[in-house]
């Protein structure tokens, strides 16, 4: 019964995070595009730009609101599901959360000003409001991610007789994983949303190559999405090194690496088998893993076999999620290079293959984000605070967690359906399709 309760708590938390993160990243990246379109309109006076800015603002309004309320749910759920964790961690991760509170506050204030102030503000003041929304989004995302990074590489305290003492919130916030995780998440947000929006317009461009509306939308979205996509593999490499150093079990799981060895191979693909301790069907690059993890082909990489079995995360799921994330990341980086070449040759809109590739990439960034969070969170199990507190020690004593889990599942599935319907009906279907502008 207790185990099942823990499972429901984990499912509810996972569901809430998976749901919230989609809206959170949209709330970070959409405002950037909306402000870019408005600035372009002010510069050029072209009507497509203001149409775009207003349409994207409408989308932002709907998605931001759902992100805000689902984020509120999360801040309570931390206590509802993991009270022992919050009792211990609250003082340590409270600082980034309060900073996040202010960043989010600014975002909400200036989003209200932006959405309802089109006719009331000077153009400069209106753009300024949009810029604050964009910055607030990036900052609040960054602060929250430092709190998660702390769970992976806890810092800023000592344990004395089971109590957390010598609390240092600064050391906690600037923990070893904070930098890599923040950069990785911000880039992921811009990449996923930029490519996602570009994909929607790519589909419409395939129908009407000349539409100035979709051309400009496509370009702005790519400008937000592709530079981030190009940088993401570098940030992923950095993140990988930190994980290799600080969370060897997670690192071994995401690589499907069982035997501790020098010249450890990098495995691409494959399905880890925890019974046999093998990862068959993988393409192996000799020494690749040692090089990636420690910058030295000869460096030994700890394998799962040297880690007690009860401290293994769910190896197969973590490995597969990691492979999915990396594959998508590489593909998006390739799209960025492809786009740059086409742009250079002034053939960005001419290549049907590129437009189709972008269209098929619409959901990929979001899938990569979900996969990446699966790696981060599942890869840390059985710990809620790496090496310090187990998830099973943190869960609420309240029985019957299946009920809130089912309730939130229904609620979120319903909301997702309505949001998709609304975005289709109010933002997409009414989009101009002809050349008349």
């Amino acid at each position: 019964m207790g185990d099942l309760n823990l499972l429901y708590a984990r499912w509810q938390m996972g569901l809430s995070l998976a749901f919230h993160i989609v809206f959170a990243v949209i709330g970070m990246a959409m405002p950037v595009m909306m402000v870019a379109a408005e600035v372009a309109w002010l510069r050029t006076g072209r009507p497509e730009y203001i149409d775009l800015a207003q349409r994207w603002a409408r989308g932002t309004a709907i998605l931001f609101a759902v992100g805000a309320v689902s984020g509120t749910v999360l801040s309570f759920e931390l206590g509802l599901l993991w009270p022992a964790f919050m009792e211990a961690a609250g003082p340590l991760i409270g600082m980034p959360f309060s900073l996040e509170g202010f960043a989010f506050f600014l975002e909400a204030i200036f989003l209200g000003i932006y959405l309802y102030g089109w006719q009331k503000l000077s153009p400069a003041a209106h753009v300024f409001a949009g810029v604050v929304v964009s910055l607030g989004g990036a900052l609040s995302g960054a602060f929250v991610v430092t709190a998660n990074a702390w769970m992976n590489t806890p810092a800023g305290f000592r344990i004395e007789n089971g109590q957390f003492v010598d609390i240092d919130p600064f050391a906690a916030m600037f923990n070893p994983a904070a930098g890599t995780q923040v950069v990785h998440m911000l880039l992921a947000a811009y990449a996923a949303v930029g490519v996602g929006v570009a994909g929607i317009h790519a589909r419409l461009l395939l129908r009407d190559r000349q539409s100035p509306f979709h051309r400009r939308a496509f370009v702005i979205a790519l400008l937000v999405g592709l530079p981030a996509s190009l940088l993401q593999p570098l940030s992923g490499d950095w993140a990988g090194r930190v994980v290799a150093r600080s969370q060897p079990a997670k690192f071994a799981a995401l690589e499907g690496h069982f035997e501790t060895e020098s010249y450890a191979p990098l495995r691409i693909g494959g399905i880890p088998d925890t019974e046999t301790g093998q990862t068959p069907y993988a393409i192996e690059i000799p020494g690749g893993l040692s090089l990636l993890a420690h910058g030295d082909l000869a460096a030994p990489v700890t394998g799962l076999n040297d880690i007690p079995r009860e401290l293994w995360p769910p190896v197969t799921a973590v490995h597969i999620a990691f492979q999915v994330m990396v594959a998508i990341g590489m593909w998006l980086a390739f799209l960025a290079i492809w786009a740059a070449v086409l742009w250079w040759r002034k053939r960005l809109f001419e290549s049907s293959a590129f437009l189709k590739a972008v269209f098929w990439s619409t959901p990929l960034g979001f899938i990569a984000i979900e996969a990446g969070w699966t790696v981060t969170e599942l890869g840390r199990q059985p710990w809620i605070i790496q090496g310090v507190m187990r998830t099973s020690e943190a869960v609420t004593p309240m029985p019957g967690l299946v009920v809130p889990f089912v309730l939130f599942t229904l609620l979120y599935v319903g909301l997702a359906a309505v949001v998709i319907m609304l975005i289709r009906r109010t933002v997409l279907e009414t989009a101009p399709t002809g050349r008349a502008q």
Binding site: A65, A68, G79, G112, Q119, P169
Partner: protein, 342 residues
């Protein structure tokens, strides 16, 4: 030197005050959406949506500020409250999700009356249920029946401590009080005399109802809580001031001086909240967890206060800017009033 715990508690109550005055009134708006009636019903709903539109997301953040203060500054209280009041907190969360989502779904949805009616209904019902359960939670913290350990049956640990006449009456009080506050505010947002008269009537009725429910709350209170509310040194002046502002709000509504009525009603709500906070002090959860016992280490409290102070420097001008743009009477729909457009 003032104790950091006291200072942090004051800041917590300040943010709860802001939430009550701003977010509370948004909930109240939802209540009047639900109860809109008479010849101006359609316009009442439009006025409510219009008044809430630009500000509700910002108003809602006060709750997040409060919760962050609790879990950073009073982590033990946060852990206990979220363990033993899981059920009403869950109901509050579902209400918050449905309220916010329904509001934007309605505002940004297609021009389809069925769509509007559905989300209007969801918005109004969620706006009504949420403050009720928020009030129940406050009641439960005050009444002192939360267990100290999770030993016992589900019902005795997770339900009966808050399913009490007293806590339920506090829930009702919160709902009526927020409705009253919203009705008073809305008299300033109304577009014409008929609509204003409707909100004035609602303000007077809900104000009277708030008085009745307040008496009920006091009647149902346990003797020590009632004692703290009535017999403390600060109680008499506070009650006199609360009563005076209530009467003033009534008088100003009666003579249709709405700006002054708003001031008086807001003062009344502030005094009620601070009266509760004084009666609750020094407890986070009556009767076994004091604020000091629940508090984080001193360096964390001081740091949190510093962050809140610096944050306020950025926040307060931003909020004033927001309310300056969309304050009452300055908020004609831009589409109706193109003369102010650029």
């Amino acid at each position: 030197m003032i104790d950091a715990v006291v200072l942090l508690s004051v800041v917590l109550v300040l943010s709860l005050t802001a939430y009550a005055l701003l977010g509370g009134a948004d909930y109240g708006g939802g209540l009047w959406d639900l109860l809109a009636s008479g010849p101006t019903a359609v316009r009442q709903r439009a006025t409510i949506a219009h008044a809430i539109g630009p500000v509700w997301e910002a108003n809602h953040v006060w709750l997040i500020v409060a919760i962050v203060i609790v879990f950073t500054g009073f982590p033990r209280a946060f852990a206990e409250v979220s363990t033993y009041l899981h059920v009403p907190l869950l109901l509050v969360l579902i209400g918050i999700v449905l309220r916010g989502s329904a509001f934007v779904f309605r505002a940004y949805g297609p021009d389809d009356p069925r769509h509007e009616r559905l989300w209007s209904r969801v918005f109004a019902m969620a706006s009504t249920a949420t403050p009720f359960f928020l009030g129940v939670i406050v009641g439960a913290l005050t009444e002192g029946r939360l267990p100290a350990s999770p030993q016992g049956s589900f019902t005795s640990v997770y339900l009966t401590p808050w399913l009490t006449p007293f806590s339920l009456s506090v829930g009702l009080f919160a709902l009526v009080l927020f409705g009253y506050l919203a009705a008073v505010y809305l008299t300033l947002e109304a577009h014409d005399a008929h609509e204003r008269a409707a909100f004035r009537l609602r303000a007077l009725l809900s104000g009277a109802a708030a008085g009745v429910v307040a008496a009920l709350v006091l009647l149902l209170a346990a003797s020590d809580v009632r004692g703290a509310l009535i017999a403390s040194a600060w109680a008499v002046p506070l009650h006199v001031a609360t009563g005076a502002s209530a009467l003033a709000a009534f008088a100003f509504l009666w003579v249709e001086r709405y700006e002054l009525a708003r001031l008086a009603a807001a003062t009344q709500v502030v005094l009620i909240l601070w009266g509760w906070a004084l009666a609750q002090y020094p407890y986070a959860i009556r009767p076994h967890l004091t604020l000091t016992d629940a508090a984080a280490p001193v360096n964390v409290q001081v740091l949190l206060l510093q962050i809140l102070g610096v944050g306020a420097v950025v926040l307060v001008p931003s909020l004033l800017y927001l309310f300056g743009i969309f304050g009452p009477r300055g908020n004609q729909d831009p589409n109706e009033n193109p003369s102010i457009s650029h």
